[in-house]
Every structure is written in C-alpha cells, then in structure tokens.
Assembly symmetry: D2
C-alpha cells in the first residue's frame, strides 16, 4: 500500500497533568504513548489531538485528514462540546473508523452512536483479567494469544448497556468472577466502530505489546476502504431522477 492510514489519537489529557501517579506511567500523556506505538508501524501515520485545543482538537480540517480516530476520555466527558460530537458522528457515518478505549464507553460520542446509556458495573482493585477469543480468525486478533492475560486491571462487569454488537470479538473474565464483552464491533453508516475495554490510566496497559498489537490490528480493520466522500441520504427525488422509470406493462 502506497499511502499510510492516518490515525488521530484523541485524549482529554487531564489525569496525566494533574495526578503524579498517572504522569509517571504516561509522562507525555496516553495519546502520545499510543501514537508512538501506532506510528512505529510502516503503514500508519499517527497524530494526536486533545480536549483543550481549539475545537477540542477535532475541527473539520483535522477530521478530514483522519482515517481512524482513537478516543480516550474519563474524567470530563461533558467538557467535549456538542458541536464536536456532531462533527465526529458525521465523520464516522461517512466512513471514518472509530476506536473507543476503556472509560470512553461513557463518552458523548460513544453514547451518541449506540443510543443507549453504555453504563456498566466496575471495581478498581488491580485484579487479573483474561480476555478470551470469541471470534477466531478475526483480523483484530491477528497474532494475539488466547487468552490475553493482564495482571492488574480495573474491572468492568456486565450488564453493559449497549445494542447487541455486530461482532463479539473478545470476552473477559476477572479474578472476582465478573465477565465483560471487552472487544466488540459495530457499523454505523459507512464507518466501523471498535470498542476495546482495557486501559485504566493508573495501569501501564497501553505499554503492553499485546494490547498494542490489538490496537494496531484494529486501526487496520477500521480504516475506510473507500473515499469517505459518501453523500448522506437526504434528497427529494422526482420521477425523472431515476435513470428510466420501469416500463408500463
């Protein structure tokens, strides 16, 4: 492939600037860590955007140059402007891929695209998570072991208030016995959406090479196949717009 997939990693970027424990793990922010891991691939060009930039970092120009948007937010979901959510939603419907990470389940954009509360159960106890393959051979799992083992994670538990996924790719269990649909896909308009559970800011999850492998695969999977120049349907038609009306019999 001649051209690279253009990824923009978005981060609200507050924890890392306010909480020393988080800053110790992600000194330049989660977005920078992820962009470095993704951008190291020959076929991916990674940029970043953050909440406190103009237009929340996601103006029309940035979105027009983004094939896949990766989303990390946690503390201040409501600080994202509704106009930003509108722009991102439109971009997804026209074909931009979207990868939502961990606490991003409760972001405005994910709730917007799902139509449900996206609420869940949780516990922060640094417990062990096993992520089991539910779809062998799915491209997001290329080169990924079964199960993926993460020694210390925040627990998310079912019920997860989402529409039935198009594809259930990964299901987790936790040391406490709970379960969670940790890797799921949706199509909304022409865009592909992947939600990936792991990633609390107080654990070095995004430095894990297996997690990075999953996210690299997800970027390739979510990249639009076409031009993203889809015209959303909204047109008054008349009899003659049709190439030729069906012949009377």
């Amino acid at each position: 492939m001649a051209e690279k997939i253009r990824v923009t990693v978005w981060n609200e970027y507050r924890h890392e600037r306010e909480i020393p424990k988080v800053a110790a793990i992600y000194p330049q922010g989660i977005h920078a860590a992820l962009a470095a891991a993704l951008g190291a691939q020959a076929d991916i060009a990674a940029a970043t955007a953050t909440l406190d930039e103009a237009d929340n970092g996601l103006g029309e120009k940035v979105l027009a140059a983004t094939d896949v948007l990766m989303w990390w937010g946690h503390k201040v979901h409501d600080a994202v402007a509704d106009a930003t959510v509108d722009r991102v939603q439109t971009a997804v419907l026209k074909g931009m891929g979207l990868i939502v990470l961990h606490s991003g389940h409760y972001s405005k954009i994910f709730r917007r695209l799902m139509g449900t509360t996206c609420q869940l159960m949780w516990r922060e106890a640094g417990e062990r998570e096993l992520l089991w393959t539910a779809r062998p051979g799915h491209p997001i799992l290329a080169g990924v072991p079964n199960p993926v083992v993460l020694e210390h994670t925040e627990m998310y538990g079912e019920p997860f208030d989402i529409p039935e996924p198009d594809e259930t790719v990964l299901i987790s269990s936790f040391a406490g016995g709970e379960v969670f649909r940790s890797g799921i896909t949706y199509r909304r308009g022409a865009g592909k959406v992947f939600y990936f559970r792991p990633g609390h800011e107080t654990y070095p999850i995004y430095h894990d090479p297996v997690v990075q492998r999953i996210l690299i695969n997800a970027v390739r999977w979510a990249a639009p196949s076409g031009s993203m120049a889809i015209e959303l349907p909204c047109r008054k038609m008349n009899w003659w717009q049709q190439p030729k009306p069906p012949a009377a019999r």
Copy 2:
C-alpha cells in the same frame, strides 16, 4: 389477560390545526384517530399526548403509566425538548415499547436511539406502495395480507441511514421503482422499538384497516413482558457484593 396494555399515542398535532386538507382527514388529529382504533381492542387502553401540553405531554407520570408509546411527528421535530427525549429514552431502555410512525424517522427520539442520521430519500406523488412480508409468521404480521397494497402514499426510498435492523419485517416497493425497509424492529435496553413507514398526513393511511391491524399487532409485540422496574447498570461493585467469591484452588 386481566390487565390492558396502556398505549399513549403522541402527536405534535400541528398540521391538523393548520392545514384544512389534513384536518379534513383527521378532524381530531392523527393521535385521536389512532387512539380510537387501538382502544377499540379489548386488551388495549389508549390515551393521547401532544407537543404543546406541559412537558410535551410526556412527564414522568405519563411515562410511568405507559407500556407502549406511539410517536407521530413531522414539521417541528426540534420543538420537542431535549429533556423530553431524555425521559422517553430512559423509559424505553427500562422496557417501554416504542412505535415510530412515518416521518417520525427524523424525530429526536428515533435518531437518539439509532445513533445515525435516519435520513432517506423521498417524493410526494401519491403513488402506489406494496409492502412485502420479509418475515412470515412474525407476530406483527398476524392476519396481514402479503403484499399490503396502499394506493396513494408518499414515497420513502433507500438508502435509509439506520443501523442494521434486528428484524426486517416489511420491505416496500413504490410505483416509481424505489424500495424501503418499511417495518423494522430493534431492541434498545429492555425496550422494543418498531418503525413503520406508511402514514403521511395528507393520505388517510391510518384509517386503513390493514394498517390498523399492523399497529394493533405492533402494540402487543412491543408491550413489555416484565415490570419496567429495571435498574440500569451503574454500580461500583466490591468483592463482597458477589454472593461468594469463587473458591481458590
């Protein structure tokens, strides 16, 4: 069944008061015509609510007494308060059925639950529509002929920007050659959603006994099976909330 299904038929109720041609077809409003047809069934109790009432006619008390909400809007979707949309969405997720009619595809509540634009193509030429059964034996089609023939309708054409339906029940063709997924179902949270295409305000569609049969069936299908006292998932769990932790080996 001892208790009746409580239906609330909602209408923005503007066309009928402003356009004589519409008033001639629905003198008391579309909501009144539909409520009369539904309420004539022994197992259905039908009430109405309209946009210009307090809380858009859909305060907490009304929603708590509604098993199935039927929605008709067209001209002034934006006049519905966001708080009303929030209340209706929550009620659906907790188990209330929702039946969205015709131009309600572009209502705030339907777009909220779908996560897409719900846009489509259209033409108002009073042309013939055939609605074909795609799911024989579906309860919404009990006693309904295949195809249903409507002589004069507004055309809606694909693409219809929606998530893939859970069930495609009816597909229409129009005299002009277009097609449309005219009867589709979704589950969102504990609630069942049915979208039904026919129904422009300048045609007497809702006086058609076959259309009424479909809507009566849809009310029975969408009625919640349980108590609608679902607790939405949003709880911090600790180790000990679980009945007993799994035994160490």
Copy 3:
C-alpha cells in the same frame, strides 16, 4: 390464556439407563425431571419423547402438537435420524420454539440451524459457574438473580463456534477463568431458538429452582405467537397472482 403451551422434552435417554451415578440423580431420566418441573406450571402442558421411540419420538403427529421442543442429547447425537432432523428443522422454521440444553450444542439439529460446527472448549472438574445478566429485563430472566451461581458444573469455554447471536442474554465465568455465552437467542424462520448451557448429566443442575425458573421463562418466550401454519416461501408467481399490478404512469 385459555390454552396451555405444549412442551415436548426430548432426551436421548441413554446415560440414565447405563450409568448408575446419572440414574441416581435422574431416576426417570432428565426428560421426566424437566417435564415435571415445567408441567407444574398452570400454563404449560409437558410431554416427553426419547431417541429409541419410533421416529425418534418426533413423528409428524408429535411435532404438530408441540409448541416448544426442549432438546437434551450428549452421547449419541449421530443416532438421531436425518429425517428426524429434517422434520424438526421444518417445524422450527414454521414457528415451533426450540430450547437446546448443554451438550445439545453439538446435536445435529442445533448444528443444522446454526450452519457452523458449534464446537467449544470444555473441562469436567466440578467447578463453580457464575451466569451474569447481559440483558436486564429480558423475559427469560424474569425473577432470576444476577449472577446465577452454580457450585459444581462442567466448564464450557469460548470460542464457541456459532453465528453472532440475535441476543446475548447470559454470559458465564468459571472458577478456572474461562468465559462462555451461556444463554443466547436466535430466530430461524418463524421459530425462536434458545440455547442454555448448564446441565451436565452428572450434576443435579435441572433440580435447581433457578435453572427451572429460566427454563420455564424460556418456554413462555419461545412459544409461537401465531398458528404455525406458515407457508414456507416457494412459489412460482405470475403477473396476475399479485392483487393488482402497479398502475402504469
């Protein structure tokens, strides 16, 4: 409701006659234990059928008098005649409900309806299973605690080679850390299908009142809403079979 739901509980009925340990748990066979539990409900009439009866117990007459078929098999799936599988498949497509239990995942009829191998991972170690609610408010879970706790079960683990479920109702974790989609639904033709994982023959799972509650709910959920007199589509049409051809313009 005046009429009862007619359930037929099918069992290959071999373990109970050959293995004393199983006979001790289910002296009259698993089918008899389940039929007793179901038939104790005022709205359910339960009968049984077994492999070694004529037509595998499932002749046309039996199927015509069955609203919901419950299936238990394990040792000798291949002993079921293909003609029996054909009859059951046709009955499901015409509207009969089907509830497949535990090792029935590998029955001919379930694999026929799924189109996949329905294979999975397993371990028999009498370990603890937690079944978590993934769809709060689903009728199959009415009155069912979250999680359901079964102290001693055979483990089934993902990947489970099935098409994506229409609804994921229950997800299990096991003491060994594995996960499984333990309660899932499909629609095939006019029939509803529910797969329920728990139930190994060497554990008294079907004597558990919570398991019985789930199966009673599932019977009510899977019962056909219509007449099961669906005509499967297979007809040569001519121009004039249509009520009236669309008018030429």
Copy 4:
C-alpha cells in the same frame, strides 16, 4: 499487495452444454466468463472448477489454494456430494470467502451455512430490476451506481427464508412490484459470505460491467485477512493449559 487473491469460480456447468440458448451467451460456461472478468484485475488470480470433475472440482488441494470461492449452480444442486459440502463448509469456517450467485441460494452449501430453507418466490419474465444501495460506502459498492439497472432479469421475490443478514447491501425492486434483498453479507466462523442475486443463465448478466464491478469488489471484500490456519475450537482443557490460573485472593 505482493500476492494476488486466489479465486476459484465453481459452476455445475450443465446448462451451457445442454441448452443452445445458454451456450450462445456463455460459450465456455459461466465459470469461464466470470474467471476472465475477475482475472483481468491485477490483484486477482482466477481459476475454475466444475461439478463433473473429481471431488466435484473441490478437493482439499484446490480448497487449500483458494482464498475466495464463487458458486454458481441451478439445475442439479443435489448432484454435489455431501463430502464436498463438508469440505467447503470447513474451509469457509476457517476463513475462505464465499460468494454465492443467483440460483445458488438453493445450493447445498448455502443452505448448510444459513440453517434455513433459503426458499423464495420467482418469475421468469425478463423484466426490469433496479438494485438500490442500502449501505452507502460499503466496499462491495465502490464505483457502483445507485440504482443499478438491469433491463431483463428473472424475478426473485420476498419472503427470502434466510437468517437476518449481517449487512443488507442491496435491495431490488422488479417491474412487477416485488422486492428482494439482492446483496447481503454474513460471517460464518472466520469466513465472509456474500450472496448476490442477479444472474440467470438465459440473460447475459455476467457480461454487464457493473455486475462485474460488484463481483470484483466482493472478491476483495471476502478475501481472508489472515492465514486461514484457524484451529476450530474443540479441545478438552485442563487447569494447567491456561497460562497461569487466576491467583487466589
């Protein structure tokens, strides 16, 4: 991409040898016409296989060298050996793409993968078909006009007895007023399946450049992303196969 997608076009190849009218349209057989159109693409290597060859042309060696199988059958579906169907099903579940054409809806392999009868309504009257885009931006529709117009086709009408599609890509209307889901996708195991309606043997449908464009796109879409060396799940696990058991607390 360095390597080409290896397509095998399968044809029962009977009509063309027996019916002069068909031979006039496809002198070398439908398979040869399709293979020529596909193989003209730089990234596709096309081979053919036919019913009357050894192993129905689809032995293990052929399937192991096939990324995407295209299937055309009509007259003698039952002449395909069950062992062939088994081999093709296994190949699909392990990741091989499958494109089923027109009357192949009633092939053993499609019915095997769907679990339903795949029956439909039909009429052979050489009437006009319009194929409408239901999923703008889907890769199978790249460069394809909306609607696609085919002047003379055999009609297929709903109901089409299939499981709800994963994606509804194209919906047709016919001059007689019927509708049909003409382009639909499924995932079964690791394999992608695309059903495409147009193509009766007495019409030169497969010489149409728009139809060829759709099929070329479908080949690229259905090509496996991985190695097709998926291990189907079927393994007895013990406590120690897991990397490390979850720690006791």
